[in-house]
Assembly symmetry: C2
Homo-oligomer: 224 residues x 2
């Protein structure tokens, strides 16, 4: 069993999260590190999607993962088995990560040898949407069983995300989920959002998502 490094992180006492987030992004830009903030409800398939993403990209990008969890290390054990560098962040009951907490995670992980750092945020569609973590791109996973009405109910999350993965497409036949309607609802909230229907379980649609992510990392690293 791979060792799990665990870091207990604390929320910033500063009200100026946006300034901290911009400073972290600037620091990461100088280091050539792309930070992805991955968000979803509990059980939407963040960890399984992350494993598929790592398997697809690990030969072309050096990847590091920060697993944020309230106090467990279930997912960090799964990620550790992919062989990429990873760290568990314990939020001590906190429902989201802010930029200061993310910065603590980045320093705990160590990103000198990393192209793509991925933050798996706490499973929550409300609070994480309110805090800029310093990420270059925000991505959320909505799963088919959750229903196509979620962009109506959690609008801020859909507004702040650059891409939305619609996961668990393998179970589409068993749910009343309207893929066209969810795309309409998402684009009503956020016309620029990229949408990728995927099944992390079967691998369907994963390369469209990883190609997009790979290009985002390249653009970030090459832009001055």
């Amino acid at each position: 069993m791979a060792d799990i490094r665990v870091l207990e992180i604390k929320e910033s006492v500063f009200a100026d999260n946006d300034r901290q987030a911009d400073a972290l992004r600037k620091e990461l830009k100088e280091k050539g590190v792309f930070l992805l903030n991955l968000m979803s409800s509990p059980g939407a398939g963040k960890t399984t999607t992350l494993v598929k993403t790592i398997e697809t990209l690990k030969d072309s990008l050096r990847i590091g993962v920060m697993e944020a969890d309230i106090d467990s290390d279930v997912d960090a054990r799964t990620i550790a088995h992919t062989g990429v560098k990873s760290i568990q962040l314990h939020t001590g009951g906190m429902c989201h990560l802010d930029a200061t907490m993310t910065g603590q995670g980045i320093r705990g992980l160590g990103v000198e040898d990393i192209d793509l750092a991925i933050l798996e945020n706490v499973g929550n569609l409300v609070c994480p949407a309110e805090f800029d973590t310093g990420a270059v791109k925000n991505v959320m996973i909505l799963s088919v069983p959750e229903g196509h009405d979620k962009p109506l109910k959690y609008p801020l999350m859909f507004q702040v995300c650059d891409a939305v993965l619609i996961n668990k497409t393998d179970v589409l036949p068993y749910f009343d989920f309207d893929m066209d309607l969810v795309k309409t609802y998402i684009h009503q909230r956020n016309p620029q959002a990229e949408i990728f229907p995927v099944s992390a379980k079967t691998g369907e649609g994963i390369t469209a998502w990883t190609d997009w992510l790979y290009n985002q990392v390249k653009i970030w690293k090459e832009e001055k």
Copy 2:
């Protein structure tokens, strides 16, 4: 289309939520009103379960529903069609309800003619677990697609709940969900938790849950 009453609610400025919660419970006891706090992730099936619960119990109990949502009224429209008294609570971005907010909801709903008041809390497994709303019983819904590991990852939610509904049992054949294991995990966190496997879609298991709820309301109204 039934009219939807919407109430914009504000978080308490008081730090003493527990005292407010006890005061609300005492007030409801005097009025003979049982308050149920219903929690889950987004998309676990709170509203569908609530509709089935209302259909089963509405001839034996006078029911009122408070639908808490960040800023939509999607679910309130569904509940309004059941014919029970209901009100939409807008939390203005807040990720949970505290006792003061719930008290505002109770007064907005009006409970003079109600035996069972149900609060459908914000879809979130983290923050609502931390705030006593003044409810007599806390109940959560975990859905099969979310996975059997959730009691490990969101322990406080499972600790504070008197009953856990395992919803969407109709899709058990399509998911790697271990019903025995989830029961073990839940009872590790909370040995007293009642567990009801249900399918709000097909109605399977609903009467075991509604019988339990009916008895809890009777006990609360009869106990002095």
